[in-house]
Symmetry: C2
């Protein structure tokens, strides 16, 4: 292992992980925490799955809580980057809303493995209040982008919305928690579930024309 002391405090995504050890730890933690929860996942088990010793984990993270916080931070940042990258910046709002809803449902459902028993928000409840507030800040861009699209649609005369804030939250909630009822291998593919959510969302904003 060639990790330097700097690694132990490098923020997720900073790239200062020459050995790839930090990334391996977070990948193992991502699977295990979702399968077994925070209390049900020991540092020993994360170490075994990452192919290293428990001492090597503590070289990179002061505590199991720091592993969880870094894993959730990375997940929120990567998912938001994927979502934002899916939404065309210069298209009409109805198209951008379609991009957003399809991508968000897809992101939520593609990460549902056989054993995703513990949602991100359930896991986050094991963090300190301060860490939870930091994660809360990372979730703001999601709702901010939705609000921006809804306001654009009103300005363009294509959406008719009574309360942009409540409508943004209602749409986001419906898409974020789709994993609580969707079953892989059931009647609908992920793409079909995404399309059906978009149809409902277009009704919620009273869209004057369909998304293509």
């Amino acid at each position: 292992m060639t990790a330097s002391a700097d690694d132990s405090t490098a923020p997720a995504g900073s790239g200062a992980d020459p050995s790839g050890a930090r990334e391996r730890i977070l990948s193992a933690a991502f699977v295990l925490f979702q399968e077994s929860g925070y209390e049900g996942t020991s540092v020993n088990r994360i170490a075994r799955a990452a192919g290293m010793t428990p001492a090597a984990i503590y070289w990179h993270f002061p505590s199991k809580q720091d592993v969880l916080a870094a894993m959730l931070t990375q997940m929120y940042e990567r998912s938001y980057a994927e979502l934002k990258g899916s939404v065309r910046p210069d298209a009409p709002a109805v198209e951008r809303l379609g991009d957003y809803v399809r991508a968000y449902v897809r992101i939520q459902l593609e990460s549902v493995g056989e054993r995703r028993n513990h949602s991100y928000s359930a896991l986050a409840s094991s963090l300190t209040d301060e860490s939870q507030r930091e994660l809360g800040r990372l979730s703001r861009p999601y709702i901010g982008l939705m609000r921006e699209i809804l306001r654009q649609g009103i300005d363009e005369g294509d959406f008719d919305i009574d309360d942009v804030s409540v409508t943004s939250y209602a749409i986001s909630t419906m898409c974020e928690y789709v994993f609580t009822w969707f079953r892989r291998g059931g009647r609908l593919s992920i793409e079909q579930a995404a399309d059906k959510h978009l149809e409902l969302v277009l009704r919620m904003v009273n869209a004057k024309r369909p998304a293509s």
Copy 2:
């Protein structure tokens, strides 16, 4: 304490709790598990909050997991009874949908205390697979009643719905997880949040007339 040995196996809501001890344990567990999570709540703490000894808890429940399972079972049964009691049995579907959505949002938001950090579904993930399946069975009547109302509205010619199953789940999810973003003391009262959800839901089913 006058509890008999029968109490220890009495199902929640069976009424076989002459001393009220079982009810006191479940009330204390209801608050503490939501505040501090399953791992963060000891049997000692539940005992202290219920005003009894840890040994008395174990007289009623074989383990902390059994306390959690009984607490969640009671919560699901009581909430469903309240929901069902709020929906007029013989009214047009548009009215019944209004009853359902308003009651469901109210039930979710009224139980949000200052410190509801752990949702029911997050807590349920600490149960055995078998107990989780049993709880899953208790959540089916919620979606069953929603489906029944939507089909009634189609039959009455008042709703236009592409996929009753997805629409039922989407509406339920939006209402069930409203507590993740609603803040007490914010811009909206619980009644206003419920009304705004109903407006969105009536759009989702393309209702031909408003709920009164």
